[in-house]
């Protein structure tokens, strides 16, 4: 009989807001409602944007979008083939420029520089470059690569995108290398391997998936960049020349020019292009996130 009573008292007396003053209760309720509704607003905006792209973009999407080149003013039909190929070329050019520099710089910070004053400075400047306005990087490349050579080129566009990608890769490479336990490095060094061999065949290998993530994130970051391309690769309504001299057609600037144009088919193509570019970027970012979470 006496054994049964403790079981009853185990359930705490459910007195909600026992001695809490009602003004405190209201403030708390208000905060919870406001915080939740603010979160809701942001999520609604994200899905509103995605919904808009799907509704307006799918209508403009057809086989000819991928096979025909961008139409001239007043021309019927047309597609985005040259813009899509140009965007892919420019983006990969940017990644090709940024990956070696970014990975090596990140390696320096994590493996050689560590806590030295120089490494701290580089880390700090890299963080600033990470959030520097992309339009300024476009202007910079215009001054050093477009003005001296008297003409827009795909090379300048690739370099501009590369400069935007470098800080992203530096940052993730360093972060990922720092996650590699020191004992792995020590084990490598104990076998007599010099630092360079330890880094390339032990540390890099251990951090590989994380470093790939960095490159994917950089890819996602530069694929939709528009502002720097206006000053460097510009655009082209035809197939660009294979040596990438002169304007190179690309999706973001095409969208920019077509979106508010008076021609119905241009606007359609702008929406289709927006859908293509956003879906590719979101897929890239989600894959990158998956790799990070899977690796941990």
């Amino acid at each position: 009989m006496t054994m049964a009573t403790p079981a009853k008292t185990m359930t705490a007396p459910h007195v909600e807001w026992g001695r809490v003053r009602s003004s405190r209760r209201t403030a708390d309720r208000m905060m919870k409602i406001i915080a939740t509704s603010f979160t809701l607003i942001a999520i609604v905006v994200l899905f509103w944007i995605l919904g808009m792209l799907i509704v307006k973009g799918l209508g403009g999407l057809s086989a000819s979008t991928f096979t025909q080149i961008t139409p001239g003013p007043g021309t019927e039909g047309g597609g985005l083939a040259n813009a899509i190929v140009g965007s892919i070329v420019l983006t990969f050019l940017g990644i090709a420029v940024a990956t070696p520099i970014g990975v090596l710089a990140g390696t320096y910070l994590a493996e050689y520089g560590k806590a030295s004053k120089l490494a701290d400075l580089i880390r700090f400047i890299n963080d600033i470059l990470l959030s520097a306005p992309s339009i300024l990087i476009g202007l910079f490349v215009y001054v050093i690569l477009v003005e001296p050579f008297r003409g827009y080129s795909g090379w300048a566009g690739g370099v501009a995108l590369g400069i935007i990608a470098i800080p992203v890769i530096v940052r993730t490479t360093e972060d990922m290398l720092r996650l590699v336990p020191g004992s792995l490095r020590e084990a490598g060094a104990a076998l007599g391997a010099p630092p360079s061999v330890v880094i390339t065949s032990v540390t890099w290998r251990a951090a590989k998936s994380g470093m790939v993530t960095g490159v994917l994130l950089a890819l996602a970051r530069i694929a939709g960049e528009t502002a720097p391309l206006i000053f460097t690769a510009l655009n082209n309504n035809f197939w660009f020349s294979p040596n990438l001299i002169g304007g190179v057609s690309n999706l973001p600037v095409t969208i920019y020019q077509f979106a508010s144009a008076p021609y119905e088919n241009w606007q359609q193509l702008a929406w289709a292009g927006s859908l293509i570019i956003t879906v590719s970027i979101l897929v890239l970012s989600i894959i990158a996130r998956r790799i990070v979470r899977g690796g941990k």
């Binding site: 808009m52 959030s131 050093i144 970027i281």
Partner: protein, 322 residues
């Protein structure tokens, strides 16, 4: 005694002369060069802006900043309307975006059930992955018409004739485009940055602090207000400054919705322009002094964002260490 110390004396390392030694040196120096390249980049951007904009600075002196004339026919250029537009859109973005971001961060760290936290976090971060030109299209084709119909027109008829408010909020041509619309679009673009840094900072606070506050009977709001915010305060300001840096230099979205007017207006409902939108708009047709004036605008933008970002990084870094 001496025998013991001898035993522990480190033998001098034998000097290795292998092919690996050369590779080691090359690899080390290559990575150092790559790291130094980051410094060169920032210095290069700074120098190219100053050199490119120099003819305009020399021509107009300080008047370049204070003048409101932008006349391509007579080659007279002044940056004032663009500077005011940049600062006011960024300010509106902060006023709208900061409360939203802090609310989201509080929701994610304090209120959301664990299974719900991850998808919501990802959704907020995906807001940052959406390219800025897409925000521009959303702003121009979806947000602006709604804003004109449901905010500008009713508000204009409401405030018409009132002192001060009647000037600031009155829209002469309710098209939905203007400084306020640009600021609101910018707010959504900076939310993911401020919200995710604030979330990380709140997560870092040792839960003992939170638990002891709950232990003495504090409500969730009181814990946030009196324990969490003071703890993470400095870095939250850093996160806000980081958002400000983004808002100042954002180009494509603003170019779509700001209206691109060269004049200065007292109303936030009227079209205006920012430094970035003006550069994006005029650059490809610009020649001679106009080109220099545009690069000089870029130079001003560079130094403003540079100062903001330096302060932001210092504030965020200061708290990370505890």
């Amino acid at each position: 005694m001496s025998a013991v110390t001898d035993q522990f004396a480190v033998p001098s390392a034998p000097v290795r002369k292998t092919p690996m030694g050369t590779f080691d040196l090359v690899f080390r120096n290559a990575s150092l060069l790559a790291a130094l390249f980051v410094l060169v980049l920032l210095a290069g951007i700074m120098v190219s802006m100053v050199v490119g904009g120099w003819p305009a600075f020399r021509e107009f002196g300080l008047g370049f900043i204070t003048s409101s004339v932008w006349d391509t026919q007579n080659e007279q250029y002044g940056a004032w309307p663009a500077i005011v537009g940049t600062l006011s859109t960024a300010l509106i973005a902060l006023v709208v975006g900061v409360p939203l971001s802090l609310g989201i961060a509080v929701f994610l760290t304090q209120l959301a059930p664990p299974w719900f936290k991850q998808p919501v976090s990802t959704a907020i971060e995906l807001l940052a992955a959406v390219p800025s030109i897409i925000y521009g299209m959303w702003g121009l084709f979806v947000f602006a018409p709604l804003f004109a119909a449901y905010v500008q027109i009713p508000l204009s008829s409401l405030v018409e004739g009132m002192p001060i408010v009647g000037t600031i909020l009155y829209s002469r041509s309710p098209s939905g485009l203007g400084i306020l619309s640009a600021g609101i679009i910018l707010a959504f673009m900076i939310i993911p940055f401020i919200a995710s840094i604030t979330r990380d900072m709140l997560d870092q606070i040792p839960s003992v602090l939170r638990e002891s506050a709950y232990g003495i009977g504090a409500t969730t709001w009181e814990v946030v207000r009196h324990v969490l915010v003071p703890q993470a305060g400095v870095s939250i300001i850093g996160a806000i400054m980081l958002g400000l840096g983004r808002a100042l230099g954002e180009t494509m979205a603003v170019t779509f919705v700001v209206g691109n007017a060269n004049r200065l207006s007292a109303s936030v409902m009227d079209p205006g322009s920012t430094i970035a939108s003006r550069i994006a708009n005029e650059f490809n047709e610009a020649l001679g002094l106009q080109l220099n004036a545009l690069i000089a605008l870029g130079c001003i933008l560079f130094f403003v964002t540079f100062v903001v970002l330096v302060i932001a990084r210092l504030l965020v870094a200061r708290v990370k260490r505890y």
